[in-house]
Symmetry: C2
Subunit: 300 residues, 2 copies
């Protein structure tokens, strides 16, 4: 009972993760985890939320075939770059193998889910991407997207002219992506093959009429009643409507814009081949499927 265990887990900082993460491997690990969740081989339970002090702790857990663990994040601290933690352990021994501390793993995971969605839902011949938002979610979507749609031309818009110019320059420099800052959301989105909304806006940042026939739209930002980055009419325009976790989406409080969609129509994004008419509009509601962050840490 009193014996020392000197085997230590590997602890990965954001710095370590930026060295190790590769978009191809990351997207494939997340794709496999999404398939395994869909066929019930990975448990992805509802988030646990513990109110404490002025904020909350949130725990998203997962149990896979040869790993288990959780991601923890909080609103107890109001520091904007506060750490998150992802823990991966071995179910046979109960030993923690890996711990990621920082923000990068969760973001790479969300970017990779976005890339899987775009790979499955957008037309293979897509050439242009209209991006609204220049924060970390926007960045990590582009980071991962290179694994599935290399060579896309990106038009990016955000409210700050300086911010979008800097984002475009950085995307060209660090991600080798042809990224052009534009002066309006409409200019970014109109005629784009793929549209990605990655804002914190509680009001629609686009108009549904701007979405071209045949386009795919991903929304990463607010998607709840009273606080939603897209107009409700976007969902009526959609011919295909997917999310990574129907359960998580329907558990939103206040409820999701889409909560009253036909469940047979609001589909979990999994491994089933998706047949789309070239003129159809698809929409992907990204919520961040629990367990995928642990699967990604395990796969690193």
């Amino acid at each position: 009972m009193n014996q020392a265990a000197d085997r230590a887990p590997i602890v990965l900082s954001d710095h370590d993760l930026l060295d190790r993460l590769d978009p191809h491997r990351s997207v494939e690990a997340v794709r496999q985890a999404m398939r395994d969740c869909a066929r019930g081989a990975i448990a992805s339970p509802a988030r646990g939320v513990v109110p404490a002090g002025a904020g909350t702790f949130t725990f998203t857990c997962g149990v896979g075939p040869d790993w288990y663990g959780y991601r923890a994040y909080d609103s107890v601290s109001s520091a904007p770059d506060r750490d998150q933690i992802v823990v991966a352990a071995d179910p046979g021994t109960g030993k923690v193998n890996r711990i990621a501390v920082g923000r990068v793993l969760g973001r790479a995971r969300t970017g990779s889910i976005g890339a899987v969605a775009i790979d499955l839902l957008s037309r293979p011949e897509s050439r242009t991407l209209g991006l609204i938002g220049t924060g970390s979610q926007a960045w990590w979507q582009l980071w991962a997207l290179r694994a599935v749609r290399p060579g896309l031309r990106v038009r990016v818009y955000s409210r700050s002219a300086t911010g979008r110019a800097e984002f475009a320059a950085r995307a060209a420099d660090l991600l080798d992506i042809d990224c052009e800052p534009v002066d309006s959301a409409m200019e970014a989105v109109a005629d784009a093959d793929i549209v990605v909304l990655a804002t914190n806006s509680g009001e629609p940042v686009i108009e549904t009429e701007w979405i071209a026939a045949g386009a795919h739209v991903t929304t990463l930002g607010p998607k709840q009643r009273g606080r939603c980055e897209y107009p409700e009419s976007l969902l009526r325009r959609a011919d295909l409507l997917f999310t990574d976790s129907v359960d998580q989406l329907l558990a939103y409080e206040p409820e999701a814009v889409a909560a009253d969609a036909d469940p047979a129509w609001l589909c979990p994004l999994a491994d089933a081949p998706i047949v789309r008419d070239p003129s159809h509009v698809s929409v992907f509601l990204s919520v961040g499927l629990s367990a995928t962050e642990v699967a990604l840490l395990h796969a690193l």
Copy 2:
């Protein structure tokens, strides 16, 4: 958004903790945390439990004046020595400072709570301790007790004659405690000034009649309806009945033996001076006050 953070948290293994932990500092850190919880200066919310796969993840959170964090443990793995994790972060920066991985921190914490209870509740002139159980909870009670009642003579009983002999020899060797294995629970407990029950038994391991006038009893093991290491009559024998968290005790499912006690009589163990008649019997129901493990990690 894409910048590396290379400041890494301190990660403490069980080996590291065995080197660092000192019973005096540990007991004083936990004592201060219990006081702070009692006066509302530390938030100690109800445990969060997330069912996943064949087991559960449990998260016990805490928010103190200059630290916050949680302990995570699970029954997803059935490995008996599976790791637990305690995380301590800084609310100002949101950065994780320390992570303990293993079993030692939680055990030292529970031992320290037990030592605080014995310090506050047992007669100062106590000389003998009857201990039932030779597992890790029993060990860590003795480990911490040296900080508040040095020189106690211990009589230990468990069902395995070999097990109790080895435990006694180890306590003498590693903790410098006069510890004698005895052949029955009655022999351990009868006339003892302090009694500690630290078993996994679902049936009573003592009889209430064995408890001497003036004794203090701590129970660490099962204490629920249908699965309880002490007889219900022990609570009727008690003149003073304390726990470290009334909320946690009353949240047990199935309910605690003691759930129907008068709330004014079932007292949270805090900083108020306790006046006891020398002939009174006191009982401490140890449940493991949330937040104390994070406070202890912060104080190391």
